[in-house]
């Protein structure tokens, strides 16, 4: 059984037996000796002991194989059209996100009539995502996702030891159920929080998805126990809204 402190041995056991999160090449990792030449290697982190729920990413192993094949055979590649990996490679191609943002806005403006329009005045859909303990920030384009579940999946890919807690039917935190919320916040699971337009830090999931996309300025994934300080304010704000 994994403990909160996470002994290394438990790490290895978990790695070998379970379907892991993370980008191709990093999943599992084994003894680390089998590192595949991937665009971005993301090994299992030491916090894996906190992960009880695993999001079931299909064909993880397939993606791994794809990448292995391409890397070894790239000089013999006859068919140039096969992309190495379906996962996003950080910072590739080298187009600054500012420019990418502009393109996204353009698409949104043209879709004025449709439901999926997000707030295009908020200055682009790319928001920074940081995870406590991770060396890199990532950026996600919120308009690429249509629900909290999709966002959760994408974040899971980026941060291998992260899962989103129990989100209920519509993907919204059940704020009315205080005990459920407190369970979540007392655990050592990671919880996504975000900074909204007013500069307040809220728990992700407290508003409908479209509203969230419009007001989210940046994301931060922190341990539930740290997010506990947000809960009272978040709940109050939520109550004020409803």
């Amino acid at each position: 059984m994994a403990t909160l402190l996470g002994k290394v041995q438990n790490d290895l056991n978990l790695k070998e037996t379970e379907l892991c999160l993370g980008l191709p090449g990093g999943g599992g990792g084994g003894g680390g000796s089998d590192q595949v030449e991937t665009p971005r290697s993301n090994g299992k982190r030491g916090f894996s002991e906190t992960v009880d729920l695993k999001l079931n990413l299909q064909s993880k192993e397939d993606l791994n194989d794809d990448v292995k094949n391409v890397s070894k055979e790239k000089t013999l590649l006859k068919d140039p059209a096969k992309p190495p990996a379906k996962a996003q490679v950080v910072g590739w191609p080298p187009v600054r996100s500012y420019r990418k943002n502009m393109m996204v806005q353009k698409v949104n403006n043209e879709d004025q009539g449709t439901e999926k329009t997000t707030s295009s005045t908020a200055g682009g859909a790319f928001v920074k995502v940081s995870m406590d303990g991770a060396p890199y920030l990532r950026k996600v384009d919120l308009t690429m996702y249509k629900s909290y579940k999709e966002l959760s999946d994408a974040l899971a890919k980026m941060f291998s030891s992260f899962t989103m807690g129990n989100y209920g039917a519509q993907g919204m935190i059940d704020f009315m159920n205080e005990s459920k919320l407190m369970d979540l916040l007392n655990s050592s699971e990671y919880v996504p929080t975000y900074e909204d337009k007013d500069g307040d830090w809220m728990l992700v999931g407290d508003v409908p998805w479209e509203m969230f996309v419009g007001s989210c300025k940046r994301l931060r994934i922190m341990k539930g126990s740290e997010a506990i300080g947000l809960a009272p304010r978040a709940m109050e704000k939520c109550k004020n809204r409803s």
Partner: protein
């Protein structure tokens, strides 16, 4: 895209040419005025002892000699390369040069401390400081990595109260820093922020309200985002009287500006020549501004669209026609293509056109480009397609710089531009000096053609978006194409490679790329040999940025003789071990070797990022926790 005439499309590298054998061998920067060693890292500081106090200086100098030097020689030296050379002649020349240098260029903010720089050069009026390496733009560095302007702001405020100009690139600048600038320099004239972040409208307001002599305020490709209640109407903070404004650039500011204030400002700025608006300025608003400023030479048009359909639309073309001096157009942030013909009256005189935010197709482009015979700089989206490129090639025979950006940057997509348009450009634009080209497919033949048709190329950056993609027709690696570029373009100083490349491509670069100063490599190469070829073969290499290549420790060690000559080496997600980086740090004590470990805790010896650079002042003290500085 900042100048009237196309800037020489080179990077701002120091023009250093030969290696520093003493540094490599002894690890000590020699301190001798008669030696031939060049001064050390960073801008132009050296490790020579600082000049003594004023009176000591005069006592040591025969007045005549100093006077001659100052007047006859140094007066004419504006280029920092020349000044660096002059400062090496002897100690007295070094001191004299230090007293007369008015423009200070710091290529790497960590290569020299603010204290050291300001101590050597006492009469500086203009300072340029560059911070993060370019790959930081692509999320490959932690957000809090560094490059803080604050210590520089403090030092400059103390040393140069008469300071007039500050140019910053990839620095972390806060509102407080801008307040320091605004408060400290009564004669301040020019602030240019390129690719910076950390500040907002509050900082801008500090500058606009207090710098009464401000001529230039340019915020370029910087992150200036709304921070809710902290928004300040910075445009309203300009003085009420006539201003000295010559250039106002804020196209990247992601917050609406007070239009009435802006219009009033333009009306009372008779010297305004450059105006680049952000996307919150609509077409009708642009019209009004243009009527107020027909003397403009550079215009960034803002959104170039209109949210409401007006009953009677202004005659936009006439506004453009009234701007007889317009030579540079940009903006078009949310372009309604119907409005594009409005620019026709100025096309004949345009030397620079930036449509890189405008999703226009070949026909729409053709309708304007066919009039742009004098065009020297063109930035566009690949939405123009090969046909659009052909149209450019047909008319723009004077083109010097071309940049084609992707609308859809995903690897799996079909791109609208290819080797066909690329080769067409090479045939029509023989004077091309700089190209940045994103595409989904390319052939060696087209690249070879360009190498032969455009021998004046200084900057060649080809980005085949699909990683490891070979020649689209022959399926061969792209080695021969890039090889031809370095072979035939004898003046090449900057190169970015892509596609499927073997070690052979790098052998070519090492053999022929003798003037190359900046090289960008990503997902290329087979073995350490590739990097060895480059490090051993390119004596002018200054900025080497490598990501996701199978280069390891042996390759790293092969560059020991050269690292003191470089501004930096970046290697991320390669095959380096911590031990090798440690060895380099020990062998070269004046190198700051920063590493970030891979996230996988099992792979403790593997390095995720190596970023190393020469420095006179040793390891910095503001590195985030995730960065380890080896020694």
């Amino acid at each position: 895209m900042r100048d009237n005439h196309p800037p020489p499309p080179t990077s701002d590298d120091d023009h250093r040419s030969s290696s520093l054998p003493d540094l490599a061998r002894g690890g000590q920067i020699t301190d001798s005025s008669s030696s031939k060693t060049r001064p050390g890292p960073g801008s132009s500081s050296s490790s020579l002892p600082q000049p003594g106090s004023g009176s000591e200086l005069q006592a040591q100098f025969p007045d005549q000699v100093l006077e001659n030097v100052l007047e006859n020689v140094l007066h004419f030296l504006s280029s920092r390369r020349d000044r660096n050379a002059a400062s090496l002649v002897c100690r007295s020349w070094c001191r004299a040069e230090a007293l007369t240098r008015s423009e200070l260029f710091i290529g790497n903010c960590y290569a020299v401390s603010p204290r050291r720089a300001t101590a050597r050069f006492s009469r500086v009026r203009s300072v340029t400081v560059k911070g993060k390496p370019r790959f930081a733009d692509f999320d490959l560095m932690p957000d809090d990595w560094g490059a803080h302007f604050a210590p520089w702001a403090t030092a400059l405020a103390q040393a140069y109260p008469w300071l007039e100009k500050i140019h910053l690139k990839r620095m972390s600048v806060t509102d407080e820093d801008l307040a320091v600038v605004a408060d400290s320099f009564s004669g301040f004239r020019e602030l240019v922020l390129v690719c910076c972040e950390g500040f907002g409208t509050r900082g801008l307001a500090a500058v606009t309200s207090k710098c009464r002599l401000l001529r230039v305020l340019e915020v370029v490709e910087s992150l200036v985002e709304p921070v809710s209640e902290d928004e300040v109407d910075w445009v309203s903070c300009f003085p009420e009287t006539q201003t000295h404004l010559e250039s106002l650039v804020f196209d990247c500011v992601e917050y609406p500006v007070n239009f009435e204030a802006l219009e009033g400002l333009v009306a009372r700025s008779p010297g305004l020549k450059k105006l680049r608006l952000n996307r919150f300025v609509s077409m009708p608003q642009l019209y009004r501004l243009m009527l107020r400023a027909p003397q403009l030479t550079h215009l960034g048009t803002g959104s170039f669209s209109d949210s409401e359909a007006l009953e009677q639309e202004p005659d936009y073309a006439s506004a453009f026609a009234a701007c007889r001096s317009l030579v540079c157009l940009s903006g078009f942030r949310e372009i309604w293509a119907n409005y594009l013909p409005a620019i026709l009256p100025v096309c004949a005189n345009l030397t620079s056109l930036n449509l890189s935010y405008a999703d226009v197709n070949a026909d729409q482009l053709r309708s304007v480009i066919c009039h742009c015979r004098k065009l020297q700089i063109l930035w566009a989206l690949d939405s123009i397609g090969d046909e659009g490129l052909q149209a450019v090639a047909t008319t723009c025979h004077d083109l010097r710089e071309l940049r084609v950006f992707p609308v859809d940057a995903r690897e799996e997509s079909e791109g609208p531009v290819s080797e066909v348009g690329f080769e067409a450009i090479s045939k029509g634009c023989r004077k091309l000096e700089s190209i940045l080209f994103f595409c989904q497919r390319m052939t060696n033949a087209a690249v070879v053609a360009m190498s032969k048709n455009c021998p004046d190329l200084l900057v060649f950056r080809l980005c085949i978006i699909g990683r490891y993609r070979p020649d689209a027709v022959t399926q061969e690696p792209m080695d021969e194409g890039f090889g031809a570029i370095v072979m035939n373009c004898r003046k090449l100083t900057r190169l970015a490679v892509s596609g499927l490349l073997t070690d052979r491509a790098f052998e070519y670069i090492g053999r022929y790329g003798k003037l190359v100063r900046t090289l960008s490599v990503a997902f290329n190469g087979d073995t350490d040999l590739a990097l060895k070829y480059v490090l051993e073969g390119c004596p002018n290499m200054q900025k080497l940025e490598i990501r996701d290549c199978p280069f390891g420790d042996a390759a790293l060690r092969s560059g020991l003789h050269h690292y003191y000559n470089m501004r930096f080496l970046w290697m991320s997600n390669c095959k380096l071990t911590r031990q090798a980086c440690q060895d380099v740090a020990r062998a070269l004590p004046h190198l700051v070797v920063e590493v970030i470990n891979k996230e996988d805790e099992a792979a403790v010896d593997d390095i995720e990022l190596l970023y190393m650079y020469r420095s006179l002042d040793g390891p910095r003290d503001d590195a985030p926790q995730v960065v380890t500085i080896l020694h």
